[in-house]
């Protein structure tokens, strides 16, 4: 099953996500800054921040265990694995058969859990608060992801992401189906919740009491903080990639594509993710953070959309085999 094209595509994806993720975050911040009438530091600022953090001293807080030290690495490691699996540049990643949609969701959750445990490990009130909130949101997001995943897997007869994307690319009619529209809306909410964007979490907040993701990582500094920031950016990039390619799969290289195909795939996905990121950043200008106890309402709505996607696809396409 190991094809040169697939391996090359996978490596391109991993390198592209690793290098491009901070740029995407920088770009989104820049878009937001411009829309709010500020000059903005430019899209390369996250990379400069990472470089600065990586040259700082590693500090281990008293009383923390190996969990605290390991969590950033696990988070970054799982993000890299997902970057290798998700069909961004090519549908022929050799890892495609190793992990399907549900496995990707599990690996994503593994990273979340690692960071939540690190938050608890510090023993501080804010660490525990962040961990508690993040785990609550992750638990409530899960039904939406899986139900929307089922809605997407049914037309492709497979839950392997490469296969789903390839099926959609081959039959553009699927994109315009109501099931796809509903599943897209559901998954968009999921991506917002999983990556801690507005209105679920405010990535730019400075108030500890309202933090979710930032509260967990308050005790981190230096290289470990850099790793977490980088991993968080990769998660955002990978999830946007997944979202955009599940519903707008054009340009993705097929299983046996040559170097030119891969290049086209890379360009297409970079453009699409940047466009989606711009849209997300622009939307965030108009949004306020929801109260934590209003978040379940949002997630209940997204679950309903996922459920409708799963049932509607069945009733509109008829009892297909």
């Amino acid at each position: 099953m190991l094809s040169v094209s697939g391996v090359a595509g996978m490596v391109t994806q991993v390198v592209g996500v690793a290098a491009g993720a901070p740029l995407l975050v920088g770009w989104m911040r820049q878009v937001r800054a411009r829309l709010e009438g500020r000059a903005g530091p430019g899209p390369a600022q996250p990379w400069r921040d990472l470089r600065k953090q990586l040259h700082k001293q590693n500090i281990t807080p008293d009383g923390t265990t190996v969990v605290f030290a390991a969590a950033p690495v696990v988070l970054a490691g799982t993000s890299l694995v997902i970057a290798a699996i998700v069909p961004g540049v090519t549908t022929g990643s050799p890892l495609d058969r190793v992990g399907d949609l549900f496995a990707v969701v599990g690996v994503l959750l593994l990273g979340t859990v690692a960071l939540a445990l690190a938050g608890l490990d510090t023993g501080t009130a804010f660490g525990g608060m962040g961990a508690s909130r993040v785990v609550t949101i992750a638990a409530l997001v899960e039904p939406t992801i899986l139900v929307a995943g089922v809605a997407l897997s049914v037309p492709a007869h497979s839950s392997n992401l490469g296969r789903i994307v390839a099926t959609t690319a081959a039959d553009p009619g699927l994109v315009a189906s109501p099931a796809a529209a509903l599943a897209f809306a559901a998954l968009a909410v999921v991506v917002v919740a999983e990556t801690g964007r507005l209105p679920v979490d405010n990535p730019a907040t400075h108030l500890e009491l309202t933090m979710v993701h930032e509260a967990m990582i308050l005790e981190y500094t230096g290289p470990r903080l850099a790793l977490i920031e980088w991993a968080a950016a990769m998660r955002l990039t990978v999830l946007l990639t997944l979202l955009v390619n599940l519903f707008v799969p054009w340009g993705v290289a097929g299983a046996g594509a040559g170097p030119a195909g891969l290049l086209v795939g890379l360009g297409a996905v970079a453009f699409k993710v940047a466009a989606l990121g711009t849209a997300l950043a622009a939307a965030e200008v108009f949004l306020a953070k929801l109260r934590l106890f209003r978040v379940p309402e949002l997630l209940a709505g997204s679950f309903l959309l996922g459920l409708l996607a799963a049932t509607t696809s069945y009733f509109l396409t008829g009892p297909a085999g």
């Binding site: 189906s177 109501p178 509903l182 509109l316």
Partner: protein, 231 residues
């Protein structure tokens, strides 16, 4: 237009119909609800328009355009005038209270309404199956979706407090009914459709006047407060 494209677009229109109804149940700001209603009207109008274009039926196309003008533009436009503009854009002295911009204190919480909606949709799909079985065609297959919109309209009518929400709920219900009619019969007589739409227009105008009077009298449009009137 090929049969495949027609089917896809028809289903997309019913998907938007459903999505906008879910959005109305989901959200609290009335301004958003009115915008969603406009989208819903457009999706509803798309059904006869698509049917007309597919079957080269000019009459159906005309009905669709009339529906579009009325339900996607006129009715939501009238409704939008009932919702005060966002804070900051108006003179503070004209503020009538934040409650007028949001649906406040619905009888059923958002999460619970969403769960009930899920149940209603499942019910609509289940009871719609015999209807589909009568004459399985692309358009009848989408009829259970429209049925679900009807049920969601009823749910909204039952649980919402604000007068504007009530009108939105009623229009959702009517959009659902019209969609069922379009999907099942592929063509309602123009007179019937126009009659229904004019009724709606009249209804909205009357409630608009009524709402304004209510606001003057009670300072708000919470229908729960009307309970006291019967004494």
């Amino acid at each position: 237009m090929s049969s495949h494209t027609y089917t896809s677009l028809l289903y997309l229109a019913s998907g938007v119909l459903l999505l906008s109804a879910v959005g109305i149940v989901w959200g609290r700001p009335l301004r958003v609800a009115v915008r969603l209603l406009a989208a819903q009207g457009a999706a509803l109008a798309a059904i006869p328009v698509l049917g007309g274009a597919y079957r080269h039926d000019w009459y159906l196309l005309g009905v669709g355009l009339a529906v579009c003008v009325l339900r996607a533009a006129v009715l939501p436009g009238l409704l939008a005038r009932l919702v005060p503009p966002p804070v900051g854009l108006t003179d503070p002295r004209e503020q009538t209270g934040a409650g007028e911009r949001h649906e406040t204190g619905p009888l059923l919480g958002t999460s619970a309404s969403l769960m009930v909606t899920a149940g209603a949709v499942v019910l609509a799909y289940a009871v719609g199956q015999p209807l589909v079985a009568l004459d399985p065609s692309p358009s009848t297959r989408a009829a259970p979706v429209a049925l679900a919109v009807v049920l969601m309209g009823v749910l909204l009518l039952v649980t919402r407090r604000r007068a504007v929400s009530q009108i939105v709920a009623f229009l959702t219900l009517d959009n659902g009914i019209a969609a069922v009619a379009f999907l099942l019969t592929s063509g309602v007589p123009l007179v019937v459709e126009l009659g229904a739409s004019l009724d709606l227009l009249l209804f909205v105008l009357v409630t608009q006047v009524l709402t304004a009077r209510m606001r003057v009298k009670f300072g708000g449009t919470d229908l729960g407060e009307l309970q006291e009137l019967h004494e």
